[in-house]
């Protein structure tokens, strides 16, 4: 899985990373801090007023307050992050994902401050960050792309004309986009006006850039992406693919590697295209080239995410690598530490969100009173919460990621079901039972996933009522009527393990 692309100019020497500031929060900050620990590197967390005492701020060697809860005044405030780096003596910044991770100006500001940005060069972020320019670049590099317009003024008439040319359904996308924000699928001409206004507004709010464009919308494609890795010495490799078709609101909730739909020939073609895409922008570090895989077997470049991906653990499971470690080493100027990597076994990830799948995935807030974390052989729980954590409205509702590994897909799947059952959150509504239902669905078991999977199989889903509902109703009524007696002051909250009950094979409910 190695493809060397010579570069015209040798990279200037870079000093090894010595101390890392993590410009992020939640599970990804915790995950990066853990790797720093394992590498013997001191870590610096930053936290907003809403996150004081949260796991990422407690786990780091040092934690620096950077302002109020709104991200604009804390996690997106470049000058505050740079001041925190200077105050702590950190010589490198890891952006995680989201927030400033794909902001070329931030990467440049970090470098201008004399620090190492643990990520790609600002020029590569900028090249891929403008989705319209990136498409053109990919076409020139011989990577297939979906038919689309250039950036259009947010005028419904312009979009209507373009849609007529491309043919419905179409999708409005943010030029600065990612993560489904500022994105609208439109199936009928009379839906265009509201969708154009909404997409432009959402794009402006999410990215500070309201530019949008129109693309032909492929029906029921799979979302398959290629993990690439490059160093500063001209080597670009791929680490296989991930299948991420199970999406709600255009955001992934279940991912796996390898893809059940990709055989050796397709894999060779897709991974080669991924490597070409990365090489075309002079990429360095970990990146992901996303493709839509049509049912007819053709694939199209969707976008490149110039950062560590949320779902990177499944790649770590099947390759045996720590991608954050490799990021830090490459940022310090080292050549890739691994050669040809063989993908072994199968891994699945489920994203635990604070949201209510029975009510249109509405984000849910609250306080985590009790948390049961899953564990066991080939089980990994990347969590940003602990008992007592407050889940507010200011940030992404991702609470934790659960991933499992198996020699086969079925082994990873059943292991995931067992681990989901051990994942107990009291105090915030989560999508846990929904995730379990997805993993138990015959179409998922068969590997027949596509981006409309949830819309087709899970529209109107509600948690099935069981005999426990009656008992739960009585207990709740009692708790409402009479406060629970406490023995000698505040009784400690119990471990949730006790309430797991007996294992019923093949089902979480």
């Amino acid at each position: 899985m190695r493809d060397s692309t010579p570069r015209a100019t040798p990279a200037p020497p870079v000093p090894p990373v010595r101390k890392v500031l993590i410009a992020n929060r939640g599970e990804i900050a915790v995950r990066v801090i853990r790797t720093c620990r394992a590498m013997g590197l001191p870590s610096v967390a930053v936290y907003s007023e809403a996150d004081a005492g949260e796991p990422h701020a407690r786990l780091a060697d040092q934690a620096i307050a950077i302002g109020p809860a709104p991200a604009r005044e804390s996690y997106l405030a470049v000058e505050k992050l740079l001041a925190a780096a200077a105050a702590s003596g950190a010589d490198a910044v890891h952006p995680g994902y989201g927030f400033l991770a794909e902001n070329a100006r931030f990467a440049a500001a970090v470098q201008d401050a004399g620090l190492t940005f643990i990520g790609p060069p600002p020029s590569a972020i900028a090249a891929m960050g403008d989705k319209v320019a990136a498409r053109a670049l990919m076409e020139r590099a011989g990577v297939p792309v979906v038919p689309a317009t250039s950036v259009l003024a947010p005028d419904p008439a312009l979009f209507a004309a373009a849609a007529a040319e491309l043919g419905f359904p179409v999708v409005i996308k943010a030029a600065a986009g990612g993560g489904g924000k500022g994105m609208r699928i439109v199936r009928r001409a009379d839906e265009l006006a509201e969708a154009v206004a909404g997409a432009a507004r959402e794009a402006a709010a999410a990215f500070g850039d309201g530019r949008i464009y129109l693309e032909r919308y492929l029906e029921r494609p799979r979302h398959v992406e290629v993990q690439v890795f490059a160093d500063t010495h001209g080597t670009v490799v791929h680490l296989g693919e991930r299948e991420c078709s199970i999406q709600r609101r255009h955001q992934k909730i279940v991912e796996e590697s390898p893809s059940p739909a990709v055989g050796p020939e397709l894999r060779a073609a897709m991974t080669a295209a991924g490597v070409r895409a990365a090489a075309a922008v002079g990429y360095v570090g970990a990146g992901t080239v996303e493709f839509l895989l049509d049912p007819d077997g053709r694939f199209y470049f969707l976008e490149m995410n110039t950062r560590l991906q949320v779902e990177h653990p499944v790649t770590e499971w099947v390759t045996g690598l720590d991608l954050v470690r490799e990021q830090i080493l490459v940022a310090g100027g080292a050549p890739l530490s691994f050669g040809a990597v063989a993908v072994r076994g199968h891994a699945i990830e489920c994203r635990l969100y604070s949201e209510d799948p029975a009510r249109g995935f509405l984000p849910a807030t609250g306080t985590v009173h009790v948390l049961g974390e899953p564990s066991g052989a080939w089980v990994r729980f990347d969590s940003g919460i602990a008992a007592g954590s407050r889940v507010g409205v200011d940030y992404d509702p991702l609470l934790a990621k659960l991933s499992t590994y198996g020699a086969t897909r079925e082994e990873a799947r059943t292991r995931m079901l067992a681990a989901l059952r051990e994942t107990i959150v009291l105090g915030v509504v989560t999508n846990r039972d929904y995730l379990a239902a997805v993993l138990e669905h015959p179409a998922f078991i068969a590997g027949a996933t596509h981006t409309e999977f949830l819309a087709e199989h899970f529209a109107g889903w509600t948690a099935p009522a069981g005999p426990e509902h009656g008992i739960a109703a009585v207990l709740a009524a009692l708790a409402l009527v009479r406060p629970t007696p406490r023995r000698g002051g505040a009784a400690p909250l119990p471990s949730p393990w006790e309430s797991l009950g007996a294992w019923r094979p093949g089902t979480v409910r």
């Binding site: 924000k181 509201e194 909404g198 507004r201 709010a205 999410a206 609101r249 029975a358 009510r359 509405l362 984000p363 849910a364 807030t365 609250g366 306080t367 009173h369 009790v370 409205v393 992404d396 509702p397 059952r421 107990i424 959150v425 009291l426 105090g427 509504v429 989560t430 846990r432 039972d433 509600t462 948690a463 009522a465 069981g466 426990e468 509902h469 009656g470 008992i471 739960a472 109703a473 009585v474 207990l475 709740a476 009524a477 009692l478 708790a479 409402l480 009527v481 009479r482 406060p483 629970t484 023995r487 009784a491 909250l493 119990p494 949730p496 006790e498 309430s499 797991l500 009950g501 979480v508």
Partner: protein, 164 residues
């Protein structure tokens, strides 16, 4: 102690009646008898039903009672609690409430305006995602209770409709 209450368990209503002490409770759930005994120790409850004792974790906060039972977490609220969002009621309410906490991005209607089913009323944002609150039926707008930019709680009244 005697209780008669409608409890929404994960949005589904159940009528609960219960008499007696923790050690010997005679309950009815939706008219089906359920005899149980329980021992409470803080949030750790032990419930005996039909000679079988199971552990439950029960935590009450200002929004709900959270009950973990048999490996499943249930969110329970009193049936008359408006913060439940009316998820299971299926009844059209003239009072349009926020389905989630967050911020009002835009108010799309004015007092006196006529709306049809599905017309957008208010655009909300939470956790960087937009949600459009739409009219459940043909109505006229009687009252608008929020302005763009306002921070809102879940269940807060956004506007009042008069169905036509």
């Amino acid at each position: 102690m005697s209780i008669r209450k409608t409890i929404l368990v994960d949005g589904l209503p159940h009528l609960v009646e219960a008499h007696g002490r923790d050690a010997a409770l005679a309950a009815r759930v939706d008219d089906a008898p359920l005899a149980l005994a329980l021992v409470r120790d803080g949030a750790a409850w032990r419930v005996t039903v039909d000679g079988r004792t199971i552990a439950a974790t029960v935590v009450r906060d200002r929004d709900a009672v959270w009950v973990a039972l048999g490996g499943v977490v249930h969110r329970c609220v009193a049936g008359d609690d408006t913060r439940s969002g009316g998820a299971a009621s299926g009844v059209r309410s003239p009072r349009v409430t926020a389905p989630m906490p967050g911020k009002v991005l835009a108010v799309r209607v004015e007092v006196g305006q006529r709306v049809a089913a599905g017309d957008p009323l208010v655009v909300l944002e939470a956790m960087k995602m937009e949600t459009i609150v739409s009219a459940e039926g043909a109505a006229s707008v009687k009252e608008v209770s929020v302005v763009a930019g306002a921070a809102i709680e879940s269940g807060q009244v956004l506007l009042v409709l008069e169905f036509t």
